[in-house]
Structure formats: C-alpha cells, structure tokens
C-alpha cells in the first residue's frame, strides 16, 4: 500500500517550458488536491477534484491546468512555466464524505512526498 505517490521528485525547467506532475493514490479516495508550498506562505490550494472526470479551481489556479481521467490519478500541468512557479508541489487525497460523516468531520488528507520544481 503506497498511499499517495508523486512523480517526479525534482525537476528544473526553463521559462516557457511545459511539464506535467503526476499524482497517484491507491486508497480509492474520491477527493484529490494539488497544493504549492512556498516559504512563509504555508500550503495554498491550486486545484482539486471531487471525482473522476471533475476538477475545480482552488485559491491559486492561474498558470496551471489539471485532469482526472482516472480515479486514482490527478495530473497537474504547467503549459508555460514561469519563475514564479518555482515551488514545492504537494498532492493529497481524502475520502468522500457522506452528510453524516461531514458533520462528524472526517476530512483527513493524505499527502505525497512532494515535487520540488525550479523554473529558471
């Protein structure tokens, strides 16, 4: 049981290049999230998905696109990388909550190990 796996672990891009970060989870979770972590900023939500085929914008979605073609995978794309996108990216997943569970507040998230991206 690997949990949440992110690839690659490290990447260096030149400004204007594109890349895709892959997140895979083996816990059959419905919900998946992409965050970026910058010094002094905590974690900020980029995009999230509430199920296969669905995506939604988070707090800082500009410059990123996502896809959830399969329930276990959540891809984060940078079409034209900019130095401001230099960051550590984390993927997370969590269970879908029924109404009763939501009231009981079981929204724990499980994180991958992160991808460190530098854009030069």
């Amino acid at each position: 049981n690997a949990g949440v796996t992110q690839t690659p672990k490290f990447r260096v891009l030149k400004t204007g290049q594109s890349m895709t970060l892959l997140c895979a989870q083996d816990m059959n979770h419905e919900y998946m999230y992409w965050y970026r972590q910058d010094p002094g900023m905590g974690l900020r939500l980029i995009h999230y998905s509430v199920g296969e085929g669905t995506t939604a914008k988070g707090e800082v979605p500009d410059g990123y696109n996502v896809s959830r073609l399969k329930k276990q995978n959540f891809l984060l794309g940078l079409e034209s990388a900019a130095p401001s996108q230099t960051s550590v990216y984390f993927c997370a997943s969590s269970y879908q909550l029924g109404q009763a569970a939501r009231r009981l507040a079981k929204n724990i998230q499980y994180f991958g190990a992160g991808t460190r991206l530098s854009v030069l």
Binding site: Y95, Q96, L104, N107
Partner: protein, 114 residues
C-alpha cells in the same frame, strides 16, 4: 487567504522539554486538525479535534480547542529530537467541510536539540 495562523513561527527547545504551539483562526469551524511535516517530506495527519471537544490526547500529543477565542494549541510532552519538524494547523473553509478542503496555516518550525 489564511484561515489558521500558528504562533510562534519557530520554536527551539531541548530534548525532554515540552513544546507548545498555538493556532488562531478567523471563522467558525466544525473541526481543526494538526499536521506534521518533516524536512523534505509531505504532511502527515496527527490529530483532529471537533468543535464540541475541548481537549484531545494522542500519545505525547495534547490538543486543546477554545471556540470562543477561535484558537487551538498543540502540546508535545517530553519532546525528542525526532519531533523536529514543522507543525501546521488546518481548518475547513467557512460553511463546513466542502469537498474535504482544508486551509493550512503557515506552520511552526520546531527544533528539538539532543
């Protein structure tokens, strides 16, 4: 915008001492969570406390929640060098646990010296 804010930003203690970290938040919540992040790793869930709970224990961890002050504290007793990490509080967005989303604070960096 940040919902939770941790205090202090950094904490340095000796092994065996207790470490206390605080989190303040702005809007009403139905739960608050604490996560730990070791250097170069992802976040790991530590403990969840519901809005109708005032205190919760898990091993050497003790979490308190004061909804009237919109604040929570995480106490690590008898700290060990292995407790060195960043600690984050996290809360659901206003209005409830919308699709499991959480808003994370900026974290407290804890260093425990052997």
């Amino acid at each position: 915008s940040q919902q939770g804010e941790e205090d202090p930003q950094a904490l340095s203690i000796q092994e065996g001492e207790n470490a206390t970290m605080n989190c303040s938040y702005k809007t009403s919540i139905n739960n608050l969570q604490w996560y730990r992040q070791n250097s170069g790793r992802g976040l790991v869930h530590l403990i969840l406390i519901r809005s109708n709970e005032r205190e919760k224990h898990s091993g050497r961890l003790r979490v308190t929640l004061d909804t009237s002050k919109k604040s929570s504290s995480l106490l690590i007793t008898a700290s060990r060098a292995a407790d060195t990490a960043s600690y984050f509080c996290a809360t659901p967005p206003p209005g409830g646990t919308s699709y499991g989303k959480l808003t994370f604070g900026q974290g407290t960096i804890l260093t425990v010296h052997p």
